[in-house]
Symmetry: C2
Subunit: 204 residues, 2 copies
């Protein structure tokens, strides 16, 4: 399994954002939508082995976490506006959210968990923090079950970084430039795709 | 220089598409917008060494070609809707377009050229065709000036493939899966970023 955990500093915790202004009124909902697309879609396929969880920390009612599960998504079209409409639909359930995941639509979940909660859920996973000064992902052993932690355009707060350190995260880099969150997700996927292909070739 | 040449089978050649339905009314304008974002943006920077040219072949008046030049773009925000608004602004000049490039806004150009015309412009460039059965990009020598040819969700028509063959293109693959056009652009950029970094390290 592959999981992406995205910490969104300003992503709004209400369905009342404007589809015509995802960056502003949504607190960079555009970035979140593109990250979901990169995490779960291939050209003619869904990535059924992948989940992306987004912890929203913007107004009016943070934190709220959402989960999109590639194994069970239906009817979604992979463009920003369509994904944003599903984010809105899911966020309408925010007042019912509690510490466990509630499936509001096929493959889409909401909970009141904060980012610590998301980290606690994946205790058995290899934990990787995307970081420009991390070790090149090509040089790092990636566990079969792995979770990748990403920030938005602002980055991760210190307490989250500290908690990741306590959990023994491995800092990894996906290349010599600073890439968008969504681009980093594509690069992580590609590297694991290559690892899995090589591993199959060896077995075969 | 890096150039991406995107052949869009159904991308509309009119500004009258609906911003609320980029995939349908725009003929996959969402895919075009994401490709422009992947081609020209980094996290805190523009890719000034990169252009992306899109040949639109949808109704009502094909072909039309657009060019976004990373060295001179201003005021654009890297989300699908914002990019689509600039596509609309540029397409308003379509009746003035001819065989040379007309700059309609800073770093944004339009012309009546077809895809053959775009290929003719880059006679001195290394030419690479993204193809799932191509040679792994990591095994291929990438020229300093290089152009990468991509299709949309439908793919490239046979006459374009034939013309590329005549031009001695190299078929390359970016990984073991079939990726979105925008994801493929990210993967190409990353590979060249790595090559350039290694080349600098050796020189240094």
């Amino acid at each position: 399994m592959r999981e992406f955990l995205l910490y969104s500093r300003n992503g709004v915790t209400s369905p009342d954002f404007n589809l015509k202004d995802l960056p502003g009124s949504g607190g960079r909902m555009d970035l979140i939508c593109r990250s979901i697309i990169s995490a779960l879609w291939l050209s003619n396929d869904m990535r059924e082995d992948t989940k992306i969880k987004i912890c929203l920390n913007g107004p009016p009612d943070p934190p709220l976490s959402l989960c999109f599960d590639g194994s069970n998504l239906k009817k979604l079209s992979p463009d920003e506006r369509s994904i944003a409409i599903w984010l809105k639909k899911c966020l309408k359930y925010k007042d019912l959210a509690n510490d466990s995941w509630m499936e509001t639509h096929d493959g889409i979940f909401i909970s009141k968990q904060d980012f610590y909660g998301l980290l606690d859920e994946i205790r058995n996973y290899g934990l990787y923090l995307l970081h420009r000064e991390g070790e090149d992902i090509k040089e790092v052993k990636i566990e079969e079950d792995s979770a990748f932690i990403l920030g938005d355009n602002i980055g991760l707060p210190n307490d989250i970084l500290e908690r990741c350190r306590e959990r023994g995260e491995k800092k990894i880099s996906v290349g010599p430039k600073e890439y968008f969150t969504s681009q980093s997700i594509t690069l992580v996927h590609n590297e694991i795709d290559r690892i899995e292909k090589n591993s199959k070739s060896k077995k075969g």
